[in-house]
Amino acid sequence: MNKISQWFRKNRTLIITLLVLTIVYLLALRGLEPKDQVLTTLRGFSMGAIIFIVAAGFSLIFGLMDVLNLAHGTLFMIGAYIGWTIIVRPDTAVDAITPIALLIAGFALLPLMDVLIERLNIPEKAARIWPWVGLILVIAILGYLLPKYPVTTWDVGSYESSPINYAFAAGQGTLVAPEPELFQGVSPVVGLGGILLGSFIAGATLAGFAHYRRYSRKEAKVIIDQGLPHTAIWISIITALIGIIFYFFNDPLSDFLLDLNNAWLFLIAILVSFVSIAGIGALMEVLLVRPLYATPIYNLLMTLGVSAIGIEFVRTIWGNPAFTMPRPSLFAGTGEGCPAESLADILANKCSTISILGGRIRTYNDVFVIIVGLFILITVWILLQRTRLGMIIRAGVQDSEMVEALSINVRRVFTLVFALGVGLAAMGGVIAAPSMGLSTNMGQVLLINALIALAIGGLTSYPGAAVGALIVGMLQQFIVKYGQIGIPLPFMEEAFKPTPPLVPASTVLLMVIILLIMPQGLFGRKE
């Protein structure tokens, strides 16, 4: 009894705040028709789920490494574009595997190059020049060969082969991929071998640049003592083989993916997007974030720069930024028996909409996204609470130095968490794409929402991220709804209709109010 009252006293502000928010929510509900009550609440949950997926990774990264990863939203967006490519143009995705794998094969050898450079003991003058020579060689080789590599893509300019048209066809299940292209002007052997060679030189060059800057003699000695990095060599060989194998099995694989049910493609898209962005994240942590841990402000600027580069990267590769993405066929049925009246209907007819109380909710946007959000919430929670990695993360958030002193390789945990965090965002991108559509600024909008959610919930608190995301999503959807029907206010002739700019403004306002009452956020911990 005593304990309960003590707990109440300790969390008084939190309880009152949550109570007030609940009352506001109930009041907001009262002004709506029954069907809109359900609809708006579900949309709020759905928006909250997507915000949460972004916020969770961001807060893990910030909590553990004190890095405000402003590129998080951009990686979310790139994830969505990768997912789009897999679903709408699997043939392009397959085409791209080979050159990417060959490039990875070279860069994976970085640790080996490091050792070799140290063992070769190149005289200082040569050491200063050769990386530059390497760089020029790389640019020449890759610059010549990569554009010649046959990747069948879309053409933003013509309607026939535009992304929109392909997306529509993919949604209808009538997608016909254009004829695959072939190497032009060079034989495939030269093309593949050249790219591989170029990537090896690129790896060596990068290792060279980093090597002479980074190592004092002492550290170099430790590296030599460790011997050859076998893992790096294996990764390199395997990725090179993957690249070459995929080159020869390109057509059958493309055909297989094109014929595949698009629900499976969607799953593959989520996985591929997660893995590739996680890989990019790991690379980013090792090469860019790590050297700047000592100067957090540079890290902030660096992530901002990466974010800008990412957006331009998407513009270069994908062309016109605004795409639509078809929903997985499981949630796209419009034929007989739809909109669904019961659970059995949904399962039998794969309806895209469900009718409730005379209104229609969209199966994918308003139901499936929420389920995925909950699934991710629980999975990450279990990871944090029940696994050794989670234990290390929770400990590291507080004191990573002490964790290192317990003979745990904290740097590796940092890389892993960074990869997982941005991978999660990429997954969120694919999941959000069918309901939000793709555009180059989808990431920024979501990142800002996620930041507000985290400020409300408490920056490094996992439950805080969930509650904050839910509050932000809910508030936005209710404001949107009331923008249509208006809020009846006393002493005013006409109902007050919130205009669209008030949607983001309202969340910022709520954040300000909550931070005034609880500067740490709802679930933040006082430091």
Binding site: M391, V397, Q398, L406, I408, R411
Partner: protein
């Protein structure tokens, strides 16, 4: 040579500040050595430098016959060094049990050592499921030492174990350290002169980032001049 740890003339910078300007410490196997000196002399930094948490820029740190300077902290710790930091650094978001579990280097370390640990600190056994943020100062200190006992450590670096504890608890902590020193070697930083002299056999005095004097505790107790010069409040 039967020094488990030998620190030779290390220099450590923290950002641009030259904190250690030549510290040498020898820790013979199986003994307790204490670092003495005034506040801010560099005792804690010496421990951190040994572990590589604040890597020394020059000098030598030889542990168990191996030069460990320049290695990463987790590698150094894995050689068998346990660290009990100042202010205990208990993980608040982890339960007492998890605080112990996280220190495992091999699966099953904790099960193997459970008897020893709970013999030494019976209190911890009933607190296992309590959150790390609900412990009293004494309990935190017990947990911090217990955590360093989970893996097989040859050397324990213990920083200010009795700081802020009630006299009864200080007694208990001293008894615990005495008991565990029969198994492992200890390098101890202790402000409390009485505690330090009761526990340790050898001492090293650090003054303004330099080790200025070393010897047997038994000799130090009668050496009023040294005590006055280096240890009494200035």
């Amino acid at each position: 040579m039967d020094n488990l740890l030998e620190v030779r003339d290390i220099h450590t910078f923290i950002s641009q500040f030259h904190i250690l300007e030549g510290v040498s410490v020898r820790v013979p196997r199986g003994k307790i050595v204490t670092l003495l000196g005034r506040n801010g002399a560099g005792k804690t930094t010496t421990l951190k430098s040994i572990l590589g948490l604040t890597p020394p820029s020059q000098g030598q740190v030889i542990f168990d016959g191996q030069d460990i300077l320049g290695q990463r902290s987790f590698n150094i710790a894995a050689l068998g060094i346990g660290y009990v930091p100042e202010h205990r650094a208990i993980f608040r978001d982890l339960s007492v049990g998890e605080n112990l579990k996280i220190a495992e280097r091999k699966k099953g370390d904790l099960d193997r050592k459970a008897d020893i640990i709970f013999d030494l600190f019976p209190d911890l056994k009933r607190l296992l499921h309590l959150g790390g943020d609900h412990l009293s100062g004494g309990q935190q200190q017990m947990l911090a030492i217990a955590r360093a006992l989970v893996p097989d450590n040859k050397l324990l670096l213990i920083d200010e174990p009795t700081e802020g504890l009630a006299p009864v608890l200080i007694e208990q902590m001293m008894e615990a350290i005495r008991q565990l020193s029969s198994e492992t070697t200890v390098l101890l930083v202790e402000q409390n002169f009485i505690v330090a002299t009761h526990l340790a056999e050898d001492y090293v005095i650090i003054e303004e980032g330099q080790s200025v004097k070393e010897g047997k505790i038994a000799d130090l107790i009668n050496d009023q001049e040294t005590i006055h010069r280096y240890l009494e409040a200035a």
